[in-house]
């Protein structure tokens, strides 16, 4: 054991780390799976908005004496339904609707925080909602997080086949009688649930990063749904563990201010992983363009136009 670093054994022995790894893994797996659908359906904005909107519920719940968890979850589901209610099918309209709900929700957060005179430093509360920390979470939340995570996945499981059909061709799905509206609403609720519990435990920034990052990376690598889901959950978990480790280790070499925030470490890894994969994929197609067709049979030549 050297003086300038802790061994892996120390890392895993720390109860803070253990809690962080458990919650982080649950979140990574649940949001990694839901993230595939989020990215495919181009609802990343909604996913991020819901994470930040948890703060509305959090600060509002504090005002009326509810627990933070139900404040987050309640606000998320309410926001999801609102987005769906005023939103429109077209991509542009939906983006603006999400933005308006998001803005209004954050305005409410400003209001609630203003009224939250019992919090010493309301400004700090706002900032910490955004940034959050995996190493500073209430261990009592862990069972609830796991249960709610499973609920979110079950909800997704009831509609995932419809979502897949719709993602291939929306009009075709409608023509075949797929209840796209219902499936969309159920998905949005599952998304809200997953995102709120992750936002509450690990902060809004990390919540979005684990929702979108591993999923986008997985979709760069494969088009096959099952593989993408598995890859997304695995990458998310791997990145979470690696980020926790780096953050923990940085205590020894990051200088007088202490360790690097775990949010930053995981987010940075996620972004680098995505970039690296994207570059690798682009290079692979340049260097090795594959032939998808058999060679043209002899005698069949593409001719130039007869007129020239």
């Amino acid at each position: 054991m050297s003086a300038d670093g802790a061994s892996l054994a120390d890392f895993f022995a720390s109860p803070t780390v253990q809690g962080a790894l458990v919650v982080g893994s649950v979140v990574a797996v649940v949001t990694g799976i839901i993230g595939i659908f989020t990215v495919m359906r181009r609802q990343s904005f909604a996913g991020h908005a819901l994470a930040d909107l948890g703060a509305v519920g959090g600060s509002g719940a504090f005002l009326v004496g509810l627990s933070q968890l139900w404040g987050f979850v309640g606000a998320g589901i309410l926001a999801a339904l609102l987005m769906e209610a005023i939103g429109i099918r077209r991509l542009q309209g939906r983006d603006i609707a999400t933005g308006v709900v998001f803005g209004f929700g954050m305005g409410l957060t400003a209001l609630f925080l203003f009224w939250d005179t019992t919090i010493d430093n309301t400004s700090n509360a706002a900032v910490s909602v955004l940034f959050g920390s995996l190493f500073v979470l209430d261990p009592n939340l862990i069972p609830t997080v796991i249960v709610l995570g499973i609920v979110a996945l079950v909800l997704l499981g009831t509609v995932y086949r419809w979502l897949l059909i719709e993602s291939v061709d929306h009009d075709l799905a409608v023509a075949r009688g797929v209840p796209v509206r219902v499936a969309g609403i159920v998905f949005l609720i599952a998304l809200a649930l997953a995102v709120e519990l992750s936002s509450l435990t690990i902060g809004a920034i990390l919540s979005t990063a684990l929702l979108i990052g591993p999923a986008s990376t997985a979709l760069q690598i494969t088009r096959r749904f099952g593989l993408a889901v598995a890859l997304s959950a695995t990458l998310g978990t791997a990145v979470t563990w690696a980020g926790c480790f780096i953050s923990y280790e940085s205590h020894y070499w990051a200088g007088p201010r202490g360790n690097w925030p775990v949010s930053f470490c995981i987010v940075a890894l996620t972004f680098l992983l995505y970039l690296g994969t994207r570059i690798a994929v682009a290079l692979r197609h340049t260097i090795r363009p594959s032939t998808g067709l058999p060679a043209a049979p002899p005698g069949l030549e593409s001719t130039a136009g007869g007129g020239s």
């Binding site: 990215v39 181009r42 609802q43 990343s44 904005f45 996913g47 991020h48 908005a49 005023i86 077209r90 991509l91 542009q92 309209g93 939906r94 983006d95 603006i96 999400t98 933005g99 308006v100 709900v101 998001f102 803005g103 209004f104 929700g105 954050m106 305005g107 409410l108 400003a110 209001l111 925080l113 203003f114 430093n121 400004s123 700090n124 706002a126 900032v127 955004l130 940034f131 920034i205 990390l206 979005t208 990063a209 929702l211 979108i212 990052g213 999923a215 986008s216 979709l219 201010r257 202490g258 690097w260 925030p261 949010s263 930053f264 987010v267 940075a268 996620t270 972004f271 995505y274 994207r278």
Partner: protein
């Protein structure tokens, strides 16, 4: 509320609202509210970092706004652009978290940069703001037609010799510039709300782009002015009023659109009796 110390607030608010109204028109027509959220909030992280490092926050703000907008515009591809926006945003915010952790001091400026506070603007800050804002508007005037075409009909724009991807980068650049002008004054949340709500309302209420832009500016000005007045008299956060009134304009626009659709599908008898 028209006391001398409020004058700067009114002027600053007006400048921000005009810029947001014009750029917001394009945000809405491109359907990219996410970009309008990501650039100000990502830039906020840069400003926070600069503040805590003892630098002028404008430097961090401008740097992050530009870097964020360019990263998103360059890396985006048709199928996944909102995912890359999300990743760029959280990376910038993550860096912000890193900066916050590096300093033991906390600054109320950070809260203001996020949720906004319009009072306490000095004349010295107003002048560069006005100049940069004016340049933004000039730039929009110059690229108005290619940007409009590339935003609405990207493939036909290519036939006219316009590269839609170039226009995307240009627009990102303009949004970053507008952000750098406005966020120090009104904060990231207000900038975002002004870019989305009132312009969306205006766009729903007219068919002509050349009318939609001034109307968007008008709605945004009304939002800004009434919010300043209300925040002053009722003493609640200005962020709440801007987002609420902005949402109100949006809903009015949706109502107008719904009524229009109802009128078009009404039976002939009803229509001709009007």
């Amino acid at each position: 509320m028209f006391a001398p110390f409020m004058t700067n607030a009114w002027i600053a608010g007006t400048i921000v609202a005009v810029i947001a109204g014009v750029i917001g028109f394009f945000v809405v027509i491109r359907g990219n509210a996410f970009l309008a959220h990501a650039v100000p909030h990502g830039a906020f992280a840069g400003a926070a970092g600069a503040t805590l490092l003892g630098l002028n926050p404008l430097i961090g703000l401008g740097l992050f706004a530009m870097a964020g907008a360019l990263t998103i515009s360059v890396l985006e591809r048709h199928a996944r652009n909102d995912a890359i926006t999300a990743l760029a945003l959280v990376t910038m915010l993550g860096l912000g978290a890193l900066f916050v952790s590096r300093s033991t001091q906390y600054s109320a400026e950070i809260f203001a940069l996020l949720f906004g506070q319009i009072l306490g603007v000095s004349v010295a800050e107003l002048v560069p703001m006005a100049i940069l804002g004016w340049l933004c508007l000039l730039a929009i005037g110059v690229v108005y037609r290619p940007l409009l075409l590339a935003s609405t009909l990207p493939d036909t724009a290519a036939a006219r010799g316009i590269n839609p991807r170039t226009m995307t980068v240009v627009f990102g650049f303009l949004l970053a510039a507008a952000t750098t002008t406005s966020v120090p004054i009104v904060g990231a949340l207000l900038m975002f709300a002004l870019l989305v709500g009132p312009p969306a309302g205006a766009s729903s209420m007219t068919r002509r782009p050349i009318i939609a832009i001034p109307l968007s500016v008008l709605f945004t000005l009304i939002t800004m002015w009434s919010s300043i007045a209300l925040a002053y008299t009722i003493n609640l956060p200005i962020g709440f009023f801007v987002t609420a009134i902005g949402a109100g304009f949006y809903l009015i626009g949706r109502l107008a659109a719904w009524l229009r659709r109802r009128a078009r599908s009404a039976p002939i008898g009803v229509r001709s009796s009007a």
